[in-house]
């Protein structure tokens, strides 16, 4: 099984630890993980895992749009915490129509969370998990675990 993890701008401090956590979780679930990110977000992930413990393939979020095909992956998870992250997730989802999709929407501003949920919901059939969080990754982690349980029908922690 293959999973694509789509990262947004790394300005939200909880994104990188959540990327590592999600990568670990997906590896445990038997997925080969590909992380699609811009250079800044990819560098944070790389520095966070100097020994390459969380094995994954890293691709550029713009360049990979030239290559990705529908059904290349079994699952796509997008970190959606600002408008541009929502539009990238929607774009990838448009190209990957038959892939299971999870949008993990988080921000400190509940009004923005609601706005991003509406954007994603209008344009994709993704399962949308939400958390009002910024520095603290725990609410996002709880929301992600619930989403994975729901979408993959998996009861692991």
């Amino acid at each position: 099984m293959k999973a694509l993890l789509l990262l947004g701008c790394p300005e939200i401090s909880s994104q990188t630890p959540m990327a590592m956590y999600t990568c670990s979780k997906l590896i445990d679930l038997g997925y080969d993980v590909t992380i699609s990110a811009n250079p800044a977000a990819a560098k944070l992930v790389k520095v966070s895992d100097p020994k390459g413990f969380y094995k994954h393939k890293s691709v550029n979020i713009d360049n990979y749009l030239d290559k990705v095909q529908d059904e290349d992956f079994d699952l796509i998870i997008g970190f959606v915490h600002k408008d541009s992250a929502a539009t990238y997730f929607i774009t990838y989802c448009t190209l990957m129509e038959n892939t299971k999709k999870i949008a993990l929407v988080f921000n400190r501003d509940q009004a923005l969370v609601n706005e991003l949920v509406e954007m994603v919901d209008e344009s994709t059939d993704a399962y949308i998990a939400t958390a009002r969080a910024y520095h603290n990754p725990n609410p996002i982690k709880v929301s992600l675990n619930k989403a994975l349980d729901e979408v993959l029908n998996n009861n692991e922690d």
């Binding site: 990262l7 947004g8 701008c9 790394p10 300005e11 990110a37 811009n38 800044a40 977000a41 979020i61 713009d62 749009l65 030239d66 600002k82 408008d83 541009s84 992250a85 929502a86 539009t87 990238y88 929607i90 774009t91 990838y92 448009t94 190209l95 954007m119 209008e122 344009s123």
Partner: protein, 102 residues
């Protein structure tokens, strides 16, 4: 060599920024407001050498008299901008060929 928007924006100064570092919906509206003709393309479609990011159908504006096009341009950290830039007739034909309007 085919047109590449990323390179063009770095090396030219004859483009106009209609709206800078905003949301996609606001920039799509700016494209509509500043264009004589509109075509719509799918998200991820290659236009002017880049994949268009956004909520489909994505508007691309054409101003035949000025020989310019208006498009949205998105980057993860900078949000979306709406820009107008001069292009060749061939590029305009290429954009029209990618239209999903029926």
């Amino acid at each position: 060599m085919s047109f590449c928007l990323d390179t063009y924006l770095q090396q030219s100064d004859d483009y106009k920024i209609l709206l800078k570092q905003s949301g996609f919906k606001q920039c799509a509206q700016a494209v509509k407001d500043n264009s004589k003709q509109l075509v719509h393309v799918n998200a991820g479609e290659k236009v002017l050498g880049i994949r268009l990011i956004g909520i489909p159908p994505i508007p691309v504006g054409i101003n035949p008299d000025k020989k310019t096009v208006c498009i949205t341009y998105t980057k993860p950290c900078n949000g979306t901008s709406a820009i107008e830039l001069p292009v060749s007739d061939d590029e305009i034909d290429d954009i029209k060929s990618k239209s999903i309007d029926f």
